[in-house]
């Protein structure tokens, strides 16, 4: 397969083959982080701009580490301290970054669709690091990478996603990716946090976590994003923990080797108990390690696609 996209905006638009290609490329990159000298010259002379309109530490740092291990130069722009505060539009910001001759913009934005819009207005590569409630493709890719590494396959797996499905771009990207690769996905949440029409994405929907766990090969525990609760629709934290929290007792009734994932940051004692988060079923820290390999692969592929395009037109 030949990767031809200059941008990674979401998993909805990707084919199964493209997703599998990213995952297999990421496998090759994982070895780089195990070396004494954790660096390859693949993106030497390229500039990656991390443009973050929402607070993020782990995703930004993961992208920064990935870019640096590929020898790219990295600029971080946090919008609280930039001209965005003075009223600059997203497109103007993008055009300015392009005029600086940067090669890739990695963007986190609070509006759904922001990455798609930016990609339409600039020629340089855009990688979506999360846009509103829409998609967070690299998180879903690293979740799938971890699943594949742990269980050897994605096809036919039962994966349960539990938590605030309505506000979660991680859930949406995971659903697109997992269903395309042939997994059976169940989403589980209080009814108020299940968006209308989610079943049309080809998933089972339930608000009974114990039922959702019985057949699951893996459970992806989403963070309860209480900061997004502007209408007091969220359940109380303790109530949520009681009804949906992933605890040792609940796992006793699940498959013995069930994989427990969480995109972080953890709310211990709300969506997951400490015993489970630190227990033997948890792969939460491996997800962090795998995130670097996946993001290295994505940065490499979009940069090469753009270079190839330029080589073709010259």
């Amino acid at each position: 397969m030949i990767w031809t996209r200059k941008d990674l905006l979401g998993l909805e638009e990707l084919t199964r083959e493209e997703i599998e290609f990213i995952l297999s490329t990421a496998e090759s990159f994982k070895e780089v982080s195990t070396r004494d000298i954790k660096k390859v010259p693949a993106l030497r002379g390229k500039t990656v701009v991390n443009l973050f309109y929402e607070p993020s530490t782990r995703t930004r740092v993961s992208f920064e580490v990935a870019a640096k291990r590929l020898s790219a130069d990295v600029i971080n722009i946090a919008t609280e301290t930039s001209s965005v505060k003075k009223g600059e539009t997203l497109i103007d910001t993008g055009m300015n970054i392009q005029a600086l001759k940067a090669d890739i913009i990695v963007m986190r934005h609070n509006y759904s669709g922001a990455a798609v819009m930016l990609a339409r207005h600039v020629d340089i590569s855009v990688v979506n690091a999360g846009d509103g409630w829409h998609e967070h493709p690299t998180q879903a890719l690293l979740d799938m990478f971890t699943l594949k590494e742990k269980l050897g396959r994605i096809e036919g797996l039962n994966v349960t996603i539990v938590g605030d499905i309505a506000h979660s771009r991680v859930a949406r990207s995971n659903i697109w990716g997992l269903t395309k690769l042939g997994a059976k996905v169940t989403v589980c949440a209080p009814k108020i946090l299940i968006p209308v029409g989610i079943d049309k994405m080809g998933v089972f929907v339930t608000d009974d976590i114990d039922a959702a766990l019985t057949k699951a090969d893996a459970v992806n525990v989403l963070r309860m994003q209480f900061e997004r609760d502007d209408g007091n629709v969220f359940p109380q934290q303790l109530e949520y923990f009681k009804k949906f929290g992933i605890t040792k007792d609940r796992l006793l009734k699940a498959k013995k080797n069930i994989i427990v994932m969480h995109p972080g940051p953890l709310n211990r004692g709300i969506e997951i108990s400490s015993e489970v988060a630190d227990g033997q079923n948890s792969v939460i820290l491996e997800q962090v390690t795998n995130g670097i390999a996946v993001r290295m692969a994505v940065l490499f592929l979009v940069a090469q696609a753009r270079d190839s395009k330029n080589a073709n037109t010259n």
Partner: protein
Amino acid sequence: MKEKAKILDTETLNRSLIRIAHEILEKNKGIKDLCLVGIRNRGAYLAKRLSVCIEQIEKEKVSVGILDITLYRDDLTLIAQQPVVHKTEIDFDITGKTIVLVDDVLYTGRTIRAAMDALIDLGRPKSVQLAVLVDRGHRELPIRADYVGKNIPTGKNETVEVRLAEADGVDEVVIIEKD
């Protein structure tokens, strides 16, 4: 595109490898601290075959690794069709070792330049030697092979194709003339 000549077949290819194996042992006086590292894809198969030859002569195993040099290429921005990245698989420490890099065809020397960069990022070998099945000339960098299966003078409008049973179902080396 047409095949101009067949240079090696299974038998002659094997003889070349056995001779190279002997030359490696002669030059290094045995296999102490000796490791073979093949450059993907066909260099990796050749390294494996060379290790079998060496093992038959010395009755002792020699370490074999596989190097993927995609991330070290100097033409990534120039080529229209990008190569697929594969894994580097070297599960031994190369520091202090004598490394014999193995590749199928030596041409401009740029692959070997990239391979040396990739290798040196993994450690500090005592020395690095180069074994190739075919040297077809046209060097663009000051690089030469220590062990050569066959020297084949070629034109720029020709390519040398090494086909190996492991990848192509047949052992042969042919010269192909481009139209």
